[in-house]
Symmetry: C2
Subunit: 219 residues, 2 copies
């Protein structure tokens, strides 16, 4: 038995207030509440979050490093935002990376990671019947997280996490409506069985199919 802490209902990463504000601003940008191309006023953010300009500016710099705002010297920072085209770009890029990720993960997965994957897939099967959507989404994320980790490429993992975050708030529609759950489970099963068989090529193909079908459901 391994620990799968992401399964617990009150699982939350601990964050500082600065990180919290950062995430809020990012989500405002991604979701379009801060319109793309619009100048972001520092004073407004200060008032909104009860901080002075210094920490707000530092947060904006970090967001700039993450690419969601662009700063022009002496003129301010501007929301970059995600156009429909940019969202598609992200989606296709993430797909490419995930296929490669599965390939590498099957080649490199460690024993304890394989145990976690098995256990997670068992949970997935069980909860698919339960219709507890929140839990299922969390399990699916956990399934992905294990695969991201098992690929043993920290940068790849970082990108996939980032793109998951961006797409989560960029696309308004739910990825997995309840009636699709059994289908999604079967797609995951194909991936999981490739892990069991140690067949990287089969895994990559199964991942490609899963992502393609997810894209169709997304539209």
């Amino acid at each position: 038995m391994v620990t799968l802490d992401f399964l617990s209902n009150d699982y939350k990463e601990k964050k500082t207030t600065a990180q919290l504000v950062e995430e809020k601003i990012e989500i405002d940008i991604i979701s379009g509440r801060l319109a793309p191309g619009k100048r972001i006023n520092e004073r407004d953010l200060c008032e909104k979050y009860g901080l002075s300009r210094t920490p707000i500016r530092e947060i904006l710099r970090r967001i700039e490093g993450n690419g969601l705002v662009r700063s022009i010297p002496n003129r301010g920072v501007f929301a970059v935002g995600l156009s429909p085209q940019a969202v598609d770009d992200l989606y296709y890029l993430k797909s490419i990376l995930e296929v490669q990720c599965v390939r590498w993960a099957i080649e490199r997965i460690e024993e304890h990671q394989m145990e976690m994957l098995t256990e997670t897939f068992d949970f997935m099967q069980f909860y698919t019947l339960s219709n507890d959507l929140g839990k299922i989404l969390r399990i699916n994320d956990g399934f992905d997280a294990i695969i991201y980790d098992a690929a043993h490429n920290r940068e790849l993992e970082a990108r996939l996490r980032r793109y998951s975050f961006l797409l989560k708030y960029a696309s308004s529609d739910i990825s997995y409506p309840l009636n699709y759950l059994p289908t999604v489970l079967e797609e995951h099963r194909a991936i999981y069985e490739a892990f069991v068989a140690g067949d990287a090529q089969a895994g990559a193909e199964a991942a490609e199919i899963h992502l393609y079908k997810t894209m169709l459901r997304r539209k």
Copy 2:
């Protein structure tokens, strides 16, 4: 005739002092002069670059967003740096992305971009005979830049640019010693001809071969 401004000898992007300092600090981290895991003292950086803590901290936040430092609240920022493993990770990831990039670029390249590519490849042939290494490296970068652009995926382009930058300063050895130049030219020719033929699959394979051979030369 199209403008290929990256060919000129004094081609430099205009940067503010803050961006310049940022790049210097990043290069210090990548090249290992700021040891991975070591705490970075703000005051030292202030003295070194003649700035007060406020702009230095903003620069560090942007670098944090870019992933080269990690910040722990109340304890400081720590250089993340690139271990040999991390460099390999980046290299493999970049290769995957470049292959995909070539594939998309061949499918989506626009007429004026194709003109630029042709012109750049002609220059490449010409200067390979000249042994002007500086110019050749710039032309090769330009060749890549056109392909990055032609793929029409801004995030993909951003990642490839970033990884090129990181690997440029992370690997101590020169990628293209003079005696390899004719070989490299032929590898580029295969890619270029796939563009001419509009054969995405052939382009992807040619890119894969090129990257594989580059890797061998790198070791």
